[in-house]
Amino acid sequence: MVFSQTELLICTIAELLQGCRYVAVGESSPIPGAGAFLASRLSGSRLRVCALGSKTHNFFVNGSVELFDLAAQGRIDAFFLGGGEIDGQGNINLVGTGTYPRTNVRWPGSFGSSYLYFLIPRVILFREEHSRRVMVPKVDFISAPGVSATNIHRPGGPYALLTELALFMFDKTRRRFRLESVHPGHTLDEVRDRTGFEFDVAESLHITPAPNEEWIDLIRGPVKKEIAEIYPLFALGLDTTSQGVR
């Protein structure tokens, strides 16, 4: 079956969300949003999605205030964060490169990351671009740290890192990422070449499984309709499978 990279990422996210009850999706997150909607379908709607920017799938009535309160109470199981820079200890930088405050390159800002990263158990770092400028040895600015001292209240943190090349899981004990799978058409050497930090490699390292037909049908059917409410252009693109991986 022909599938696109986007569909592979959506399916991988849905897999990572298995067992969750409430999943929140932030702004500007079409692929995580689609992955969450797919996971919800697969769970028979046991998994509920709350997507900022949606009217149908959003139960907040005070902007994002409630998201932060729910997270602090442990009511949100999974969330997605990105980063202009991500390092091997799971630190993320959403602020900029260079010396703060007069950064050479300035990104929008930390948003809710400096808080949500501490409180939501399964934070999935999602960044499509996998390059040495993103996956760095040490971030220039820590919007939110990957790990904390033992006396810091921290039920949450990094769970996985998903990119255009590969899937890593975060090992809290070893305080570093472990390469779990490499996407079809890519290699371990390529991942090493394009990653600026050291990481472990799982003994069970494998090729990221291709999406099955049932999941692809769900993506091109109901998931596409749900995500179109928030990201109409992205949803249109879900039909473009001509540049498929296989």
Partner: protein, 281 residues
């Protein structure tokens, strides 16, 4: 009666004021922003609740801002606010980088009239590292449990765009209830609205719970479409052609000046129209 003209409403904000403004999707008073720039306002201390976008970017570009406290300045799909990024690089604006819940928590302390609010997270981040006004204490109710304290935020003014107000000065915000927090924490709240309705918004259960009572509102002026070129909730979508034009031109000082001249002189053409919820900016 609190109804006034846009000019008179904007005239209440003095140079150097602490001004709270909402995130792009909650209702941004862009017509009022244009009036503030026309008046040559300067020395503003902006607070993005909890983020800002085009509004903060044009105010910074026009030289109105000395300090900005925010969790982000974003033009959505068009990226970081270009004038914000340029001012950061030049060091011409003092930055108070925050995180969204910290802004809300500060405002919540402000509206309760208490001096500070504790908040989880933050410890070990460079956001906290660079905020000398934020403190870490040991939770007095537990052992060895460090927690951050944030000082209360009481803006001099809150300014936003809403869909409607009534003759008594009540303002309808619907589900965007973070605007309520903003208005309750601010010493004065200025609101521009699309329309003034004749019926009492507080008399109907369906609207009362989504309405800010007149006690919090200093002045209201009609501006329609007052959020343009941004969108306004279920009233109209963002004018993406203008936003994309801005994102391109504002990359340079001269390009921004050209955009600003066009905007101030009314040369930018609106394509915004009454429509169901459009694509969010």
């Amino acid at each position: 009666m609190t109804l006034t003209s846009l000019e008179a409403l904007c005239g209440q904000i003095p140079n150097g004021a602490v001004l709270a403004i909402p995130k792009t999707s909650a209702g941004v008073a862009m017509s009022a922003t244009r009036e503030l720039i026309r008046r040559g306002l300067h020395g503003l201390h902006l607070i993005g609740v909890p983020t800002s976008g085009l509004q903060a970017d044009v105010l910074i570009g026009a030289g109105c801002v000395d300090i900005i406290q925010t969790s982000a300045v974003t033009l959505g799909e068009f990226g970081t606010g270009p004038r914000f990024a340029a001012a950061v690089k030049e060091g011409s604006v003092k930055l108070l980088d925050a995180t969204c819940p910290a802004i809300y928590a500060g405002l919540q302390a402000g509206l309760k009239g208490i001096p500070f609010m504790p908040l989880r997270g933050l410890i070990g981040s460079d956001v906290l590292q660079h905020r000398s006004d934020w403190k870490v204490i040991d939770n007095p109710f537990a052992n060895d449990d460090p927690i951050v304290l944030l000082p209360s935020i009481r803006p001099d003014f809150a300014l936003f765009q809403a869909r409607k107000a009534d003759r008594a000065g009540n303002v309808y915000i619907g589900r965007e209830r973070e605007l309520m927090i903003m208005a309750q924490a601010a010493r004065q709240t200025l609101v521009t609205v699309e329309e003034v309705v004749e019926h009492d918004l507080m008399a109907d259960e369906a609207t009362a719970s989504g309405t800010i009572a007149a006690i919090y509102i200093t002045a209201i002026a009609v501006a329609s479409p007052g959020a343009w070129p941004l969108g306004l909730l279920d009233r109209y979508g963002a004018d993406t052609s203008v936003l994309s034009d801005y994102a391109k031109r504002a990359r340079t000082t001269d390009g921004f000046k050209g955009f600003l001249d066009d905007w101030l002189s009314g040369k930018l053409v609106t394509t915004a129209k009454e429509s169901p919820a459009g694509v969010a900016a």
